[in-house]
């Protein structure tokens, strides 16, 4: 209850601040021909500025470029997020991103593609979480608040993409920017700590084939929005109508 009140209060002060900032930008700072929505997507946010729903972070993965047997993205993710624990049973290890190989049994056609949290617009993990730990940020990034997660794993059962893992053992040597610990569920964060600094996720940066593209789907000028508008892309299990942040091309 007191948490609610804190949130409401800060939301109100944010709306006030945004109105003031908006007025200022409209009058003076905006260069000719530059739309407000572009400003929102490009630069890292200033300290103190919250994530905004003017941005919807998304990823486009071109499976025709993704090489079978290459796991550069998986390795880069592990390094960036400090996933380095040794597990006796590989099925109990954390998996934020994995490579999967698909084969159409009828035609024999094969695909290899990275699979990660799809950052659903209507995330079932958030719907079922009994504590409010699973949450979606204003800019569409779905996260687990480990301060609140009780490790019940409802979200793991609800996620249609098998995107989440539970940490089974005590951890040490975490990346200071990516806290992780025993008894909490975790999943791909889109490297939120990098995105907030204006960088792209580690997997996208590491892909040698440039098969992954990250950007603001809400900004019509961004490369990802233009490609999604022009080319045919697929949402995995589009029938679930979750409006995914991750789209694939070529499957």
């Amino acid at each position: 209850m007191s948490e609610d009140r804190i949130e409401n209060k800060s939301r109100r002060s944010f709306v006030g601040a945004a109105a003031v900032a908006g007025a200022g930008v409209g009058v003076a700072a905006l260069a000719p021909g530059l739309k407000l929505i572009e400003v929102a997507g490009a630069a890292p946010r200033a300290p103190g500025e919250p994530a905004s729903s003017a941005v919807r972070w998304g990823m486009l993965i071109d499976t025709t470029k993704c090489a079978s047997g290459c796991d550069a993205c998986v390795k880069a993710c592990a390094t960036e997020n400090g996933i380095n624990e040794t597990v006796k049973d590989a099925r109990q290890g954390s998996q934020w991103i994995r490579k999967i190989d698909l084969k159409d049994p009828k035609t024999g056609q094969e695909h290899s593609l990275p699979m990660l949290c799809q950052h659903c617009e209507h995330p079932p993990c958030v719907d079922v979480c009994p504590t409010g730990a699973s949450m979606k940020r204003a800019d569409g990034i779905v996260l687990v608040d480990r301060h609140i997660c009780i490790g019940c794993r409802y979200c793991m059962m609800a996620c249609p993409y098998k995107a989440r893992s539970l940490v089974h053992m005590p951890l040490t040597e975490q990346n200071p920017l990516v806290p992780r610990g025993q008894g909490c569920v975790e999943a791909c964060t889109f490297c939120v700590h990098r995105v907030d600094r204006g960088q792209e996720p580690a997997c996208v940066e590491a892909c040698p084939e440039k098969a992954m593209l990250f950007g603001n789907l809400n900004d019509p000028a961004s490369e990802i929005a233009q490609r999604v508008a022009k080319e045919k892309t697929t949402q995995v299990r589009a029938d679930l109508k979750l409006n995914l942040g991750v789209r694939y091309q070529g499957i």
Binding site: R45, A46, G48, E49, P50, R137, L171, Q174, P176
Partner: protein, 123 residues
Amino acid sequence: MKRLLVGLAAALLLTPLLAAAGTPMPQLKIENPGSCIAPVPEMRRNHMEMLKHTRDRTMRQGIRGEKASLNECINCHASKTTGSVLGPGGFCQECHTYAAVKLDCWDCHQPKAGNPQAVGVKP
């Protein structure tokens, strides 16, 4: 008024006696004295509230660069020898053990300074 004064004097006299008789007082080494984000009494009393509100805003709203941050605590207060705020004599652990307050931040957060060169030397 007189009773209050007597009470105060008794408290002042008693505190060191009790401390001497029971658990030894925490022996803190302040690696970076005199430049914390708030005066020492306020930090002692309120650091957990500061961190809690920062944590919720950063995590849930994406607000970065807040005044209070665990990473900054470490960068100033990690021991120059162990690089950590934990362990015997560690900045966090010493008081928490004395006060018998469970300290679980470091189950998930990294208790050592990310950059070994940065240990306790922030200006």
